[in-house]
Amino acid sequence: MMKTTSRRNRTVSRLAAASLASVLLAGPVFAATPVIEIEIRDHLFFPAEVQVPADTKVKLLVRNLDPTPEEFESYELNREKVISGNSQAVIFIGPLPPGTYPFFGEFNPKTAQGLVRVE
């Protein structure tokens, strides 16, 4: 009985420590990674151009509102990711030097064109 209680106490204190640690660690991490949202509608990117700070890691949150899949691809960013229809995807980019980095939808390259402007 004693054993169970002490074990439970230990678990509780471990959980508390873990959650405290995650708050302390995650807080600044999330604050430091800007999130940029991009939508795919009718095989087009909205917005088609996004601005990103230089030398900073950025989290792209791409929501595909089309029923068809799309592949986010960029030679300049070295990124490629299939995004199912009606779903969202996370793609980390950077830190990058200033410049322009085009991206496109490989499944609809004629229409789905976008640009990341790093400043």
């Binding site: 592949e71 030679y75 199912s84 969202q88 793609i91 980390f92 030097p97």
Partner: protein
């Protein structure tokens, strides 16, 4: 849609065809039969690709929406690992200077089938998601299927050219031609290791660094030559230091494993 599907299917087919050709030529070099492992690799890969494509949405949500990167990296690391094991096997066989006994051949065949299966899982799932997604949309089915057929046809043709070209060179009694398949296998392994690193950087599991160089003005990845070199040896016009390191490590691991295997037998 026609041109898109030609390019898309061709790219994936080309990469797979190159791997099959290298493995098939090496198999013939060691006196084996590619037909002993190729059908199993294709079958297992096809099934896994189908399962992956069907569950892509769910898998993508794993690990805070980077599940796809993690699974792809795992598949690519698996290919690189299988290639290293193949190199050990080839090294051990080279030391013996005689034909391998049946159990050894089974190991070799299994490794070839596993490599092919893992490659098909990744490449094939992308094709299946593309085809599945747009066949359901039903507005350009004919263009889609025609394009895919053309892309697949060109990919398979180039694959046969590669196979017979490589076989002719490997049959040469001179050393450079004979070791060419192993050199290409090493580059393929390096590419897989580098691709896995890129996937993990995309998922933010591995720190991303600045590009080491930019050769896009000299040879663009979007040009035909650039695409071809990307499929064949993993050409990248602006790789990061991690990318290059992973490529070299993966590629050098193959000769290292070959010599380690050869020494262990002496």
């Amino acid at each position: 849609m026609l041109l898109t599907s030609v390019i898309l299917i061709l790219q994936e087919t080309l990469e797979a065809a190159l791997l099959f050709s290298i493995l098939a030529v090496i198999t013939l070099q060691v006196g084996g039969r590619p037909r002993n492992w190729l059908p199993w690799g294709l079958l297992a890969g096809g099934l896994l690709a189908w399962v992956y494509a069907l569950n892509l949405r769910r898998i993508s949500e794993w690990f805070d929406y980077v599940g796809q990167e993690v699974v792809n990296a795992a598949l690519q690391l698996g290919i690189a690992f299988a290639i290293v094991l193949l190199a050990v096997w080839l090294g051990r066989r080279a030391a013996k200077k005689e034909t391998a006994p049946a159990p050894g051949r089974r190991v070799f065949g299994f490794l070839c089938a596993a490599t092919v299966a893992l490659a098909i899982t990744r490449e094939g799932s992308e094709i299946l998601v593309f085809l599945g997604g747009f066949l359901a949309a039903q507005n350009s089915v004919q263009a889609l299927l025609t394009g895919s057929g053309i892309g697949f046809g060109i990919g398979v043709s180039v694959g046969f050219l590669l196979f017979y070209g490589l076989l002719a060179l490997a049959d040469n009694t001179r050393t450079p031609g004979r070791v060419l398949p192993l050199v290409l296998l090493a580059l393929f392994g390096g590419n897989m290791f580098a691709q896995a690193a890129v996937q993990l950087m995309q998922a933010d599991w591995l720190a991303a660094g600045p590009a080491l160089w930019d050769s896009s003005a000299w040879l663009s990845e979007q040009s035909v030559t650039g695409r071809l070199l990307y499929a064949l040896i993993g050409y990248e016009s602006n790789p990061s230091a991690t990318h290059v390191t992973a490529y070299l490590a993966g590629a050098l691991a193959v000769p290292a494993a070959f010599y380690a295997g050869r020494r262990s037998r002496r």
